[in-house]
């Protein structure tokens, strides 16, 4: 049985900064909520091709499609890995923020 199509967006890493970016109507953005969503397999192909243009245009690295949920009008990845990427940071405090409060001020 063919896999049921789910809405997708295209994501990649920014060439300069390396962070997660998503293709929006007017270019690559950090906020997945701004991303263009393909609702059909045909739209997904076109979106993927636009993503690849970002790589050949030297803006991003490794574009690929990810499935998203649109619950409550919010675009958010379905897979845990992509959720963490979309959030843009580790799920835990890091560096100085991970230190006890008394040493954070130092």
């Amino acid at each position: 049985m063919a896999k049921e199509f789910k809405p997708v967006v295209v994501t990649a890493n920014d060439l300069l900064e390396g962070d997660s970016v998503f293709l929006a109507a007017d270019g690559w953005v950090r906020d997945i909520r701004m991303a263009r969503v393909a609702m059909t397999a045909e739209d997904a192909k076109a979106l993927e091709a636009d993503g690849l243009d970002g790589e050949t245009g030297n803006l991003v690295v490794g574009p690929y499609l990810i499935e998203v949920s649109l619950d409550a009008g919010r675009t958010y990845p379905l897979l845990r890995r992509e959720q963490i990427r979309a959030d843009g940071l580790p799920t835990i405090p890091f560096g100085l923020d991970a230190q006890p409060a008394e040493r954070r001020a130092a």
Partner: protein, 553 residues
């Protein structure tokens, strides 16, 4: 420790200039990603989940204070103020910008460091015993061998494009603190019946998706034959190792499929036909390298100074730290101190720039200017006078690195996992943090005794989960994190791969699962001295399985 000669300096500087040019061409589009990726990987630069990641080599885990301060400066100037020490005795910076990486490499070169061969299908950083040159049970400082191998393997034209990455570890003691049985080649400095010093050579160990314990290839290899023999192993591997499937391309697969006896025959034949004189390290060069590892001149100290005795009695927390985190030194009056990078609830192996600077200061003042990174993601101050130990301890307490937990349940190894790593399938660090908080009570940790928990966020096993007394492997099950548990792994000379308990557990369940395993052990052990590993070996998996999977009554 080893110091660069003129050739080393020029080589590293030329390499930085070359990479600066490559980055510039990447930014203008003259190089596309397919062309650039192998070049950046050769310089330790990965692209991870949220950012680029730069892996910097710390040869055999040895650093001086100036190098540690430079790592702190890099963390502050070009990263987010911290670094992550890894199970391969390296450091990783998680947030560099592509355009800044050549400047970072320049900064590293200024203190005789680089990121060459920290990635790619080449011979990686040669790792060693963090107590090299310190441990009383040592036959010879293994870093001499590691440095010989480093120089020989750096940009070796024949071994720069192997079928897969290649990892070598060296120990100078019978007691294995370098996990040599889970490396592609493991070398143990030994003495033969005639009293000559040479090597026991192991081959075909490794973790990852097909974990294997190494086989003995040679019981005794004369020292002079080191490079010709390793060269022969590499040649056999390079010729016969698989290149059609990256998951079957490590030497362990070749050894496994060929059989150790047949593999040995091929190596011995290659070795016999090789031009030893062309490959062997000349004695004068060996002597030059060995001189860099001459023991530091440590001033004579009384074996048990009064100030140490006094503080040991007055400060019970200090006494507990001494008991867990120090190791005997070959020189009376000195001790090697392990700085645990596992504060309760901390990210294993992470250190802030402030902590790195403070450690550099302590090393400069109290440890003959040396630090060692351990494959257990801790740091060793190798040459501390006992009379200075309390000052060192207080210095560590001031930066939150005084946890007296070396080898205990909260001394957890964890890879960066899905919080950082593009390959990961599940998170590791927060799992480690939750377990650490669960077992925060010091008295309880001591009651449990020696217990290593090792966590990997994918089957590549950077967190060495197969050789943890308790191993935790994070996987992706239809987009949800799931954790497989193994029991009874071991990383030392008694190395052993852990056994799977059964079906995996959800992210939130893991601390309770560990708690059940620990409680089961405490109930089963013969006496308080029987360790978790010993109990597991005696009673086997069944009682633990029962505790984990039997329906509640």
């Amino acid at each position: 420790m080893y110091r660069y000669d003129e050739f080393d300096h020029r080589f590293v500087q030329e390499r930085v200039a070359e990479f600066r040019d490559q980055v510039a061409r990447r930014l203008t589009g003259a190089l596309n990603e397919a062309e650039f990726k192998p070049l950046r990987l050769m310089n330790g630069l990965y692209l991870q989940l949220h950012a680029y990641m730069l892996r910097v080599a710390i040869p055999y885990g040895t650093l001086n204070s100036g190098q540690m301060r430079m790592l702190a400066q890099i963390a502050e100037t070009w990263d987010k103020g911290y670094g992550h020490f890894t199970t391969r005795q390296n450091i990783q910076f998680n947030w560099p910008k592509l355009k800044d990486v050549p400047d970072i490499l320049d900064a590293l070169a200024s203190v005789e460091m680089h990121a060459i061969q920290t990635s790619g299908n080449c011979i990686r950083n040669v790792t060693s015993d963090p107590l090299a040159g310190v441990a009383p049970d040592e036959i010879e400082d293994p870093r001499i061998t590691a440095e010989v191998l480093r120089q020989w393997s750096s940009l070796h034209p024949e071994f720069t494009f192997l079928g897969r990455k290649f990892k070598i570890a060296v120990t100078g003691s019978e007691y294995d603190r370098a996990a040599i049985k889970v490396h592609d080649i493991g070398l143990q400095v030994v003495r033969n019946a005639a009293g000559e010093v040479g090597y026991r050579v192991l081959v075909g160990g490794g973790l990852g998706r097909t974990p294997m314990i190494a086989h003995e290839l040679r019981a005794f290899l004369p020292k002079a034959d080191l490079l010709p023999y390793v060269d022969a192993v590499m040649r056999v591997y390079n010729l016969l190792g698989r290149r059609d499937n990256k998951y079957k391309a490590r030497i362990k697969i070749l050894v496994h499929e060929t059989g150790i006896d047949r593999f040995r025959e091929m190596v011995e034949r290659e070795f016999a036909s090789g031009d030893h004189a062309a490959v062997a390290v000349p004695p004068e060069e060996l002597a030059r390298i060995a001189a860099y590892f001459a023991p530091p001149e440590l001033p004579a100290r009384v074996p048990t100074p009064v100030e140490f005795e006094r503080m040991h009695k007055l400060d019970p927390a200090f006494a507990r730290w001494v008991e867990r985190n120090t190791h005997a030194h070959r020189v009376p009056g000195y001790i090697a101190a392990t700085v645990s990078l596992k504060p309760i609830g901390g990210a294993p192996g992470d250190a802030t720039a402030e902590q790195m600077r403070a450690l550099a200061d302590l090393a400069e003042r109290y440890s003959a200017d040396e630090l060692r990174i351990t494959h257990e993601q801790n740091i060793v101050l190798p040459h501390v006078g006992l009379g200075d130990l309390y000052k060192v301890y207080r210095g560590l307490a001031a930066i939150g690195l005084d946890a007296p937990n070396k080898g205990l349940v909260t001394d957890i190894i964890a890879c960066p996992g899905l919080d950082y790593c593009a390959l990961a399938t599940a998170r590791s660090i927060p799992v480690a943090q939750e377990i650490s908080r669960r077992f925060a009570d010091e008295a309880r940790q001591r009651e449990i005794g020696p217990l290593s928990i090792k966590i990997s966020g994918c089957i590549n096993a950077c967190g060495h989960h197969h050789i943890g007394h308790i191993g935790i492997l994070g996987l992706d099950k239809a987009g949800v994190e799931s954790y497989q548990i193994t029991l009874g792994g071991e990383s030392t000379e008694d190395a052993r791969l852990g056994d799977r308990t059964g079906p995996g557990f959800g992210y939130d369940e893991v601390p309770d699962v560990i708690e059940k395993i620990v409680e089961t052990y405490l109930a089963l052990r013969d006496n308080p001295r029987e360790t978790f590993f010993q109990t597991y070996r005696r009673v086997g998996m069944e009682p633990f399985k029962e505790a984990l999977y039997a329906p509640a009554h």
